[in-house]
Symmetry: C2
Subunit: 179 residues, 2 copies
């Protein structure tokens, strides 16, 4: 089967944008010059900060009616576009996770890298509050200004996994970041 | 903040397609004529069948290198496009869940309806096996031929939720469908 046989137009339009105090990614040029230990310390701080960050999802008012009932869910799934990733980076094939050359090269589909062929990022977050067209959430890594693609109600049936296993390199990162 | 300020081109290209024995959605014209009880019985059977269905994600060979390491994960997140949903249905605002008029109208963003402004569907599934560019998974609801948008490694950190609460209408559906 060739995917060429079925090519619907897959064009997305923003349904809103993220308003967050997180203005830039953790992997900035500055940090690339740091030794591994200092760098991981910075990343750990960054992750801790994100976990406690409260962001607003500002939905275009023409879509307010589509939010009816979302406040009945404790968690939502947020789909967004990492708008600061340059389009040419969508061609990357493999990376060292978090830019760490001590970890083995991984295919992009085996990582959470925002630079991927179709950069649609997904995050499950607690929904703190809805005010009309604005959803307040906690712990969203999306940078300020990220276009929103979709909001879904979180259901374990679709998005949960029982005892998911990850490879050693990811276990190591989680351990080092204390997440 | 207006989302108009930030409009990157958000165009997706298929990275592959789903090969599945599930050829059509449960909500076909046939079933709409059935009484509620019969209809729910059919939907329950359909869900049970999907849960046990084994599908193949056939990735375009140009992307095979991007899969390197995915076999280290027990679960993956699959993003796909519901290609049989007519584009004009992307304008729907509210629906009765599963077409059931006994359940209250919900905004599209509060439902799992495949007809939504940006129909990017997300499913967490066990990864059974990888053979080169083909990923074998279990329990994927995607219909045969659905274009694939992205494959992500499943990490509780991004996609898990602790004790997620859902509203009464969804609890009722889960109870009736025994899921």
């Amino acid at each position: 089967m060739k995917a060429e046989q079925i090519r619907p137009e897959m064009h997305l339009r923003p349904i809103g944008a993220v308003r967050s105090e997180i203005k830039e990614s953790m992997l900035t040029a500055d940090e690339k010059g740091l030794a591994l230990k200092e760098r991981m310390e910075k990343i750990r701080e960054y992750h801790h900060r994100i976990k406690n960050t409260v962001s607003d999802l500002v939905i275009e008012t023409e879509f307010t009616d589509l939010l009816e009932g979302i406040e009945g869910f404790s968690h939502i799934l947020v789909l967004y576009w990492p708008h600061l990733i340059a389009p040419e980076r969508r061609g990357l094939k493999q990376v060292h996770p978090m830019g760490r050359e001590d970890l083995p090269l991984q295919g992009i589909f085996a990582t959470c890298s925002p630079a991927r062929p179709n950069p649609v990022l997904v995050s499950a977050v607690p929904l703190l509050e809805r005010r009309e067209n604005i959803l307040r959430v906690k712990g969203l890594e999306a940078l300020d200004g990220s276009p929103l693609i979709d909001i879904k109600p979180y259901s374990l049936n679709y998005y949960g996994a029982e005892n998911p296993a990850v490879p050693p390199w990811m276990e190591q990162i989680h351990r080092e970041l204390e997440i």
